[in-house]
């Protein structure tokens, strides 16, 4: 096993562990909504987008039509546009050929792990990560639908913490190196908290606003830094 493959699994396993309990919850909930096993499977296998699947179930129950549900999904998932924009500047030449497949697997967590890898992103690394995430999401959905709440509640709750721990574990080396990264991270978290409290943005858009505002603020820091280097 090369180091690259090992590293990919090291990040893929936490995503898998984190996705399974969320997907089990989706499976259980979708069964409760009177959806068939095939439809529940298709939701996770074809849409592959955590939060928006739960929201869609909610909206279905309120009797909202397809147009409204699809539009809401677009709004909720639009943040991935920004994440893909970043990733498109990072993928290697070989990986570019697989962009149609690769783009399908850009979730919050996959994006986060990829963004902290050093150097050009290879297709091996990207696909191991995306397949781990996808496997966790789809098998979890089936398990939840078929088996119901077969895991003790405190176990699924603790497994859910894995996703936050993963993001944090990747962020720490960055923060250790640069105070600016720490300021931007906390700034973004604070802004997000305020926006959620104010409760005027549709679901998924608080993160978009945070990315736009904080990355814009950050870009001034970085450009200044580049110029300082030139002057020195």
């Amino acid at each position: 096993m090369t180091k690259e493959v090992r590293d990919a699994f090291k990040s893929g396993i936490p995503i898998f562990i984190g996705y399974v309990p969320a997907a089990i919850a989706f499976g259980i909930l979708s069964k409760g909504c009177g959806i068939t096993l095939l439809e529940s499977f298709l939701f996770s296998a074809v849409v592959f987008a955590g939060a928006s699947q739960f929201i869609a179930l909610n909206l279905l129950m309120t009797g909202m039509g397809p147009g409204g549900i699809i539009l809401t999904t677009l709004l909720v998932n639009f943040r991935h546009f920004l994440m893909s924009a970043y990733l498109s500047t990072r993928i290697g030449k070989m990986a570019k050929r697989y962009k149609f497949m690769m783009a399908f697997g850009v979730t919050d967590e996959v994006f986060s792990v990829l963004s902290f890898q050093k150097g050009r992103l290879s297709k091996t690394f990207i696909f191991i990560l995306e397949i781990s995430a996808y496997a966790g999401w789809v098998t979890g959905t089936l398990a939840g639908y078929i088996l119901g709440g077969f895991l003790p509640e405190i176990l699924t709750k603790s497994m859910g913490v894995a996703l936050y721990a993963l993001l944090l574990a990747m962020l720490l080396p960055e923060i250790k190196k640069s105070v600016k990264a720490l300021i931007l991270t906390i700034g973004s978290g604070l802004l997000n908290t305020i926006l959620i409290k104010l409760d005027f943005l549709p679901n998924g858009w608080t993160i978009i606003v945070c990315i736009l505002v904080i990355a814009l603020a950050g870009s001034f820091f970085i450009v200044d830094e580049v110029q300082e280097e030139i002057y020195e």
Binding site: V47, T89, I154, S158, A165, P173, A215, V226
Partner: protein, 102 residues
């Protein structure tokens, strides 16, 4: 229930297209410095908002449990780095706190 298949396909399309478009639009372009600096800041900005405030409601009945798990991640992460031990350890710590508090 054909309606539902339509919804699923529609949702898949509006999820996939925003994930794909930037790869088609930006891949071979020279990106201006200012835009590049902006793109470089996206990860930190996104992850800050993905963690906070969500993490505080990861274990809603007992926020202390998730907080203990995160504390473990921070300590081990700063001290030794790595991914697997900080992550699995935080799951274990959260589990133990929930288990003994229940």
């Amino acid at each position: 229930m054909n309606n539902l298949i339509l919804i699923i396909l529609g949702m898949a399309a509006v999820t996939y297209i925003p994930r794909l478009l930037p790869f088609l639009l930006l891949s071979n372009k020279q990106i201006p410095k200012r835009v590049d600096a902006f793109l470089k800041c996206i990860p930190v900005a996104a992850i800050g908002a993905l963690i906070i405030p969500g993490v505080f409601s990861a274990t809603p009945d007992m926020p202390m449990a998730a907080a203990s798990g995160m504390a473990f991640t921070i300590i081990i992460g700063l001290w030794r780095g790595g991914i697997i031990i900080p992550v699995l350890g935080s799951v274990a710590v959260t589990y133990l706190v929930l288990f003994f508090a229940a």
